[in-house]
């Protein structure tokens, strides 16, 4: 049940989204009845979004350790050392429900929130990646959401001056009522400046700086992110607004729960915060996100084992007449909480003044472990609330939810009237013609070029972007060194719907493979787990299986999970979303001049396929386009094979054997080869003449999405060494042919080819012979066409 459905006569705790047993838990921890303000504080802090009360036991199973890990889960962002006194901070987070209600502000504040998580650690944000998922691109509602979200991501990121260098844009009917907006940010810091979000030292001052506090975003975490949408809410009637609430928890719609972003204020906040850290003026720093002042005070105090006395009258406000509970849980954006030694207050004020950002001492650190809220001054003020910090955070309620697999294993998705096939109205759609299938896939909304989107993002500010959006993983050089960071974010929702363990493990495999194929060593994994209502056993089972898959894959690849975020209740009247474990990976390339790019190199280079296809088309883009067979399953994942493929790619790069390297994923081998052609010869495009040995059906060989495969090219003289290296890693390797000409020619040879294919009833003939220009045309125009955007 959602907030709006609850009748007003219900007790306050229920209207705030707390259950009866949870109220009992609050009484136990306080040893008395909570008052209304305390109840409001618990309601945000014990929300799913802040407390992870459903997912915490699952997340505890993930591997988090590693020699280079400087800060792991529990901090604002994971931090991993990259040598030379430098470290990288990175994290991915969701802003799904705010974006569904108000796409521009929802997406904008999603960017703002994740950036604050990065610079709170002392890191300068250097890149953003956005992972966006929507319903049918042909629907008016989707188009409105896509447009607003993209403008929001760009509007915020462009203004703060952090480049948006990559991401994902995926369309699937399951996201129609509940789009996903996940944003990943990466920052760079000197390790000595690592700053913790803790409040040590009783007697230290609690300083709030940044924007003023208003009524925007009140209870965003508890109301928006921790409940599902109802019919009425999911209609545009949301946008009608609501009167300002007067007493605790009173509200008419979720409209005022959406935060409003001010990227200019954030830019000033970044500069002021980093200057404060650089000059050693703060003992601890925490951004104000979900849960506002309540969350920032209790989390920092709990981490240091301290308490705080806070005077609400000292909080700078943008609205008159705010009640205590509103000030405490407001999610007004662009605010920071600093813990400052009294003798440094003047210096902190000077820095904030110079950056034009309001700053106020709102309290003091104590040794009693309680968050004490006062009005009317720290000394003589009237007590409003008093709650142990740990009761709000580390000792928050934990639920053991029921998990149950679906009664009957889901079948492969039926031919979809919605997504991919529809946009490709160019070539004749005969499924007996592999070339026509390839063109249809290249022009489909999930594979076509995202240029129309990323051209709205400043991807080069900062002048570190070696590879921006559009072609594989993002690459950012680190000034003053030979090094580069390589980042990718991926999620396989289609396989996840069939098998959530496999979907999560494949997401990790793909994201890390995208990084390894450039020659970089993945450093760690951040994740954003987007799932349905955890009180439904099937949804909770999906979450549990996905976390298990995430853990298994990370252990197999020896990678720590350094942080992340859980977004549950992603449901609407249209249904629940496909399980979407969005994985973010950052890797380190020691010498940026060795970077391997996905496009084929020079004519005459030899093309090789490392790894091999297995059966299973379910969950593939081909299946979405053509309709899979009912008995078909997804392809299998062998994690030790995956590890070997990635190790091979890195070693081949280090030995200078690769002219190009491209991962095989969405659309299968044929799309990987087409992309390597289109992006080849330094971006101008080049053909290739290739023969693919085929043991399975042509559809599987050409369009199947078996993991653990890469397409590489090399100078002819290096080919034998490369083949040998692959065999040393225990990998199947096949020489496919050579780069050159202006056509992509792919023939299948062997048992799976020609007559055999037709005998088995496959609908795909076994040769592709297309001009590279035709590939480019289909790929370049597909997305604009699907979204109905004009060319410019």
């Amino acid at each position: 049940m959602t907030v709006a459905e609850r009748p007003a006569r219900e007790p306050l705790h229920r209207r705030l989204g707390l259950t009866n047993p949870e109220l009992e838990g609050i009484r136990e921890r306080l040893g008395r009845e909570p008052n209304d303000v305390e109840l409001a504080m618990f309601s945000v802090m014990w929300s799913e979004h802040c407390s992870y009360k459903s997912s915490r036991p699952l997340l505890a199973t993930l591997p988090t350790g590693g020699a280079d890990v400087v800060a792991g889960p529990g901090e604002n962002a994971g931090v991993v050392s990259i040598g030379g006194g430098l470290a990288v901070a990175f994290k991915i987070e969701s802003h799904n429900h705010p974006s569904a209600v108000e796409p521009y502000q929802g997406a904008a504040t999603g960017v703002g929130g994740i950036l604050r998580d990065i610079f709170t650690m002392g890191a300068r944000p250097i890149a953003v990646l956005d992972a966006l998922r929507f319903g049918d691109p042909g629907s008016g509602r989707t188009r409105r959401l896509v447009d607003g979200v993209i403008r929001g991501v760009g509007g915020y990121g462009n203004c703060v001056g952090v480049p948006t260098v990559g991401g994902e844009l995926v369309f699937d009917p399951s996201y129609a009522g509940n789009p996903l907006v996940n944003v990943m940010a990466i920052g760079l810091l000197e390790e000595r400046l690592l700053t913790r979000a803790a409040a040590p030292g009783p007697g230290n001052l609690v300083v709030l700086f940044g924007s003023t506090t208003g009524r925007d975003g009140i209870g965003g975490a508890s109301v928006l992110a921790s409940a599902t949408f109802t019919d009425e809410e999911s209609s545009d009637r949301w946008l009608a607004g609501a009167p300002p609430p007067s007493s605790v928890g009173e509200r008419g719609s979720k409209r005022p729960s959406v935060q409003v972003g001010d990227p200019f204020a954030e830019k000033l906040l970044i500069e002021a915060s980093l200057e404060l850290i650089e000059r050693g003026l703060v003992e601890g720093l925490q951004d104000l996100g979900a849960g506002g002042i309540t969350c920032a005070t209790s989390e920092t105090a709990d981490r240091a084992g301290t308490g705080m006395r806070i005077d609400l009258d000292a909080v700078p406000r943008r609205e008159a007449g705010m009640a205590a509970w509103e000030v405490l849980i407001s999610e007004s954006q662009e605010r920071m909480l600093a813990v400052v030694r009294p003798d440094r207050e003047a210096d902190v004020r000077e820095v904030c003044d110079r950056w034009g950002t309001p700053c106020a001492v709102i309290g003091v650190v104590t040794d009693d472990g309680d968050i004490t809220i006062l009005e009317g001054g720290l000394e003589a003020g009237r007590g409003v609330a008093r709650v142990p910090a740990r009761a709000l955070t580390s000792d928050a309620v934990v639920h053991r939810r029921l998990a149950a697999p679906p009664a009957r294993r889901r079948r492969a998705p039926a031919p979809s009237s919605a997504t991919p096939g529809r946009a490709a109205d160019g070539p004749a759609r005969s499924f007996t013609d592999a070339g026509a299938v390839l063109l249809a896939l290249l022009g489909s909304p999930n594979i076509a070029s995202r240029r129309a989107v990323w051209e709205q993002y400043d991807w080069h500010v900062g002048t570190n972007t070696v590879t921006g959006p559009g072609t594989g993983a993002a690459v950012l050089r680190i000034k003053g060194t030979t090094k580069a960071l390589v980042a990718s974010t991926d999620a396989n929702h289609a396989v996840g719907l069939l098998d959530p363990w496999l979907g999560a493990a494949m997401s990790v495999a793909e994201a890390t493979r995208n990084v390894s194929i450039t020659g970089a060593r993945p450093l760690g994994v951040t994740n954003c787990l987007n799932f349905g209502d955890p009180t439904r056993p099937e949804a909770f089972w999906q979450l549990g299986e996905a976390v298990r898959g995430l853990g298994d894959a990370c252990r197999a690849l020896s990678l720590p999970v350094t942080g992340g975020n859980v977004s549950l209740y992603n449901e609407s009247p249209a249904g629940t979303i496909a399980p979407t474990p969005q994985i973010g990976v950052v890797g380190l390339l020691d010498d940026v001049t060795t970077l391997v790019r996905p496009g084929f190199g020079a004519p005459g280079d030899v093309v090789l396929l490392v790894g091999e296809a297995g059966p299973g088309l379910a969950g593939s883009e081909y299946a979405a386009l053509a309709g899979g067979a009912a008995e078909d399953g997804p392809p299998a994942l062998d994690l030790s094979r995956e590890r070997a493929v990635q190790a091979f790619a890195r070693e081949a790069t280090a030995r200078g054997l690769l002219a190009s390297g491209q991962d095989v994923s969405g659309g299968g081998l044929a799309v990987a080869l087409a992309e390597a052609s289109m992006w080849g010869a330094g971006g101008g495009g080049t053909g290739a003449r290739l023969r693919v040995p085929s043991a399975l059906s042509p559809a599987v060989e050409l369009f199947g999405e078996s993991p653990s495969r890469i397409v590489v090219s090399t100078r002819p003289r290096h080919a034998p060494a490369l083949v040998l290296l692959a065999r040393q890693h225990g990998l199947p390797v096949h020489e496919l042919g050579t780069v050159g000409g202006d056509r992509l020619v792919v023939e299948l040879v062997g048992a799976g080819a020609t007559g055999a294919a037709e005998e088995r009833g496959s609908r795909v003939a076994d040769a592709i012979d297309l001009p590279v220009d035709d590939l480019c045309h289909a790929w370049e125009h597909g997305l604009r066409r699907a979204l109905g955007w004009e060319e410019h």
């Binding site: 203004c159 990227p263 002048t463």
Partner: protein, 248 residues
Amino acid sequence: MSVRIGVVVFPGSNRDGDTLHALRLAGAEPARLWHESASLDGVAAIVLPGGFAFGDYLRAGAIARFSPVMRAVSAFAAEGGLVLGICNGFQVLTEAGLVPGALTRNRGLRFVAREVAIVPERLDSPFTRQIDDRRPLRVPVAHGEGCWFADPETVDALERDGQVLFRYAHDDGTVAAGEEDRANPNGSVRAVAGVSNARGNVAGLMPHPEAAVEALLGSDDGLAIIRSLVESTRERVAGRAAVAAAAR
């Protein structure tokens, strides 16, 4: 001899670091100038960098032009000092009336960030003299309000007087056909990408030469523009020193 070139930092500037980096690569000694400073700290030339000064609230550059430093920049320009405004810096210069025309919303009404080709109109200006020939330069743009506009009579006069410095072009170097040509990323009148004042010492351009100074990042074509500024400044400083020496 190294030359000190000032990079003005407004609240919301976000290309100041990139501009400093590019100026260093071009052999200059750059220094940040805070917007509240009324003095120019003895710099020999000035760059107004890209970004969103004061959030571009109201209108890009509309508030920044009132910063104390702009009074000093205007005086510096009036004395013949070299001033280059890039992107948001160009917007500030037009708002301050230091270069002709106005910058309005992009024709497509969307922010646009892409690599474009531009061609210089003249190679004898302080900002273009190091460009070796009229090949198109590959440089990125990133702006929402970059559509340069002036009335036809004004544009005629600017063209006649050699105040148009750059135009958007196709990859083969032919100038974009007009406002609707895809090679013109924002719909600027007659594909104008950069202009100077009548005296030729103050210039503004929408593309980012400072973001195209290393082949590793895709293009180093912008370095010729940055180098032009640095060399012109160096000569100016040397010329003044010679005049001063002669006077002694």
